[in-house]
């Protein structure tokens, strides 16, 4: 398996207040990794860093052989390609959804990618069926329940067909059926050879998981 993400001695924050401290990690294509750790250990910061939303104060981040820095993400085509390949599902879906309807929310990415209306329609229909929300296609996302919003957020990210999907607390606010759906989605996506990174407290939901579990400690380091 090829390494898709390489972190070398990454630190983030001020010298006195480090949120991530000397983190080195290699993630291979097709891996499904669970990040756990106590509150405030830096899981969300690590995910923001992997998405190029914040940049390390020390160390290097390489995504598929290319260094991700503030300067490299100034190059718009490169930044767009990078964001297309790495999908991020926020912990709180209602701050991720901004389109007037569920349909538009999912269609947002494919429309930008230059797809024809027919292709967009087909991709959105597939995803609506996949997340079992076809009947809610014309509803505004902010009128949906937390679990439904989470599904819409996942579908909106999946519409970009990313190579890596990162999910921050994916089981937060989900009922039993939605959790079953989320676990089955993770299995399907992992089986497709794509990379999944999950930050969660709820390890029992993924008790069957056989991949790596990475623990972020209170000292903001990792324990493999």
């Amino acid at each position: 398996m090829n390494p898709i993400i390489q972190l070398s001695h990454i630190s983030y924050g001020y010298e006195s207040v480090l949120t991530l401290c000397d983190i080195s990690l290699t993630i291979h294509q097709g891996e499904c990794i669970i990040f756990t750790g106590p509150n405030g250990c830096g899981k969300s910061t690590l995910f923001k860093l992997l998405n190029g939303l914040v940049f390390p104060s020390k160390g290097q981040y390489v995504f598929d052989g290319q260094a991700i820095t503030q300067a490299s993400l100034q190059d718009m085509p490169f930044a767009k390609r990078f964001h297309k390949r790495i999908g991020y599902v926020f912990q709180n879906p209602d701050v991720q959804l901004f389109n007037p309807t569920v349909y538009d929310e999912i269609a947002f990415g494919p429309r930008q990618m230059g797809f024809t209306d027919k292709q967009v329609q087909s991709r959105v229909r597939d995803l609506l069926e996949y997340v079992n929300l076809t009947s809610l296609a014309d509803r505004p996302p902010y009128h949906l329940s937390g679990g439904e919003q989470k599904k819409v957020a996942i579908a909106a990210v999946l519409a970009l067909n990313p190579d890596v999907i990162m999910m921050d607390e994916p089981f937060n606010g989900l009922d039993r059926m939605s959790r079953q759906w989320a676990v089955s989605f993770l299995k399907d996506f992992s089986a497709s050879g794509k990379t999944i990174l999950i930050a969660t407290h709820e390890q029992d939901v993924l008790s069957h998981h056989t991949g790596r579990r990475i623990v972020l400690t209170e000292e903001h380091t990792i324990s493999l």
Binding site: Y14, V17, N51, L53, M76, P77, K80, R81, H83, K84, Y88, F90, N92, D94, V95, Q96, L97, F98, N99, P100, F108, G109, R111, Q112, M113, G114, R123, D126, L127, E129, Y130, V131, N132, Y142, A156, V157, L158, L160, N161, D163, R176, M177, Q180, W181, S184, F185, D188, F189, S192, G193, K194
Partner: protein
């Protein structure tokens, strides 16, 4: 695609769409995104201004906010009433000493509003030169020193601490409640807008011909969120038997700090009286 029914009655999802199993060959087209990036940066700056910064947290343990505000108030009064520029110069020297303890970025942030106020007042006062006013620079100079002092205190003091300080000087509680709520919701809604903009940026992987439509949708979502917050706060207040009385906590007085600030105030007034020629 078929929806399978689970044994317990739970609906299991359909199969994952085929196209997800393969990677897209995609090459993004050029698009302008400076507006989005600048907006994200501006909102981040606003949240940082209203929330506690690293410097503010450090400062909080060193001084007394009420005394800071009172000393600032006394200084402003003395600067305004000074007839010569010697006393304002002394205050400027003290401010510069305080500024020297901060880093370049902080100093820039504090000086910027003072310079803007100075330039603006220069433009307003300049015509008086033609009417024979030879001391026309005095007013902009005093404004510069005053705004610099206010900017310094506001920069190193968290706004929520200022509300406590206001309580100590007997400002009505309802005013403090409105102040606290305003700051809280500016930060909360600021975070909401910031996350929505980040989401827009992460998903803007190609050419977006409807940028302003997306921005309008973000504003709409934030407005709905603010309504939701307002309703929730109202319900929470009702549930907690809010009767309109809000008791803002007052910090225990640290008398040694008050004495130090008192000595500083007396020294300032003494310098003012001496430099203005009232004594000595």
């Amino acid at each position: 695609m078929e929806i399978k029914k689970h044994a317990e009655g739970a609906y299991m999802p359909t199969a994952i769409p085929d196209w997800i199993l393969h990677s897209d060959t995609y090459s993004p087209s050029a698009d302008k995104e400076a507006f989005l990036r600048k907006t994200i940066a501006a909102i981040s700056r606003t949240i940082t201004f209203f929330g506690p910064s690293r410097y503010q947290v450090q400062k909080r343990h060193r001084g007394n906010i009420t005394a800071d505000l009172l000393l600032l108030f006394v200084s402003v009064l003395l600067i305004v009433s000074a007839h010569s520029v010697v006393f304002p110069l002394l205050i400027l020297a003290i401010e510069l000493v305080y500024l020297a303890a901060l880093d370049g970025k902080q100093i820039r942030g504090i000086i910027k509003p003072a310079v803007i106020a100075f330039c603006f007042s220069c433009v307003l006062v300049f015509p008086s030169l033609f009417l024979g006013n030879n001391r026309w620079m005095e007013l902009p100079f005093k404004i510069f020193i005053t705004v610099l002092g206010v900017s310094y205190v506001s920069r190193i003091t968290p706004l929520y601490e200022i509300s406590r300080a206001l309580r100590a000087v007997h400002i009505p509680c309802i005013f403090i409640l409105v102040w606290d709520m305003t700051i809280k919701y500016i930060i909360l809604l600021g975070h909401t807008i910031l996350h929505l903009l980040i989401s827009l940026r992460l998903r803007s992987v190609g050419k977006n011909d409807h940028k302003y439509q997306s921005m309008a949708a973000i504003m709409g979502t934030t407005f709905l969120k603010s309504q939701e917050y307002a309703k929730d706060t109202y319900h929470a207040m009702v549930c907690r038997c809010f009767t309109g009385t809000y008791e803002a906590a007052v910090r225990q007085a640290d008398w040694s700090t008050y004495i130090m600030y008192g000595i500083a105030a007396v020294l300032l007034i003494g310098c003012y009286l001496f430099l203005e020629g009232y004594i000595g």
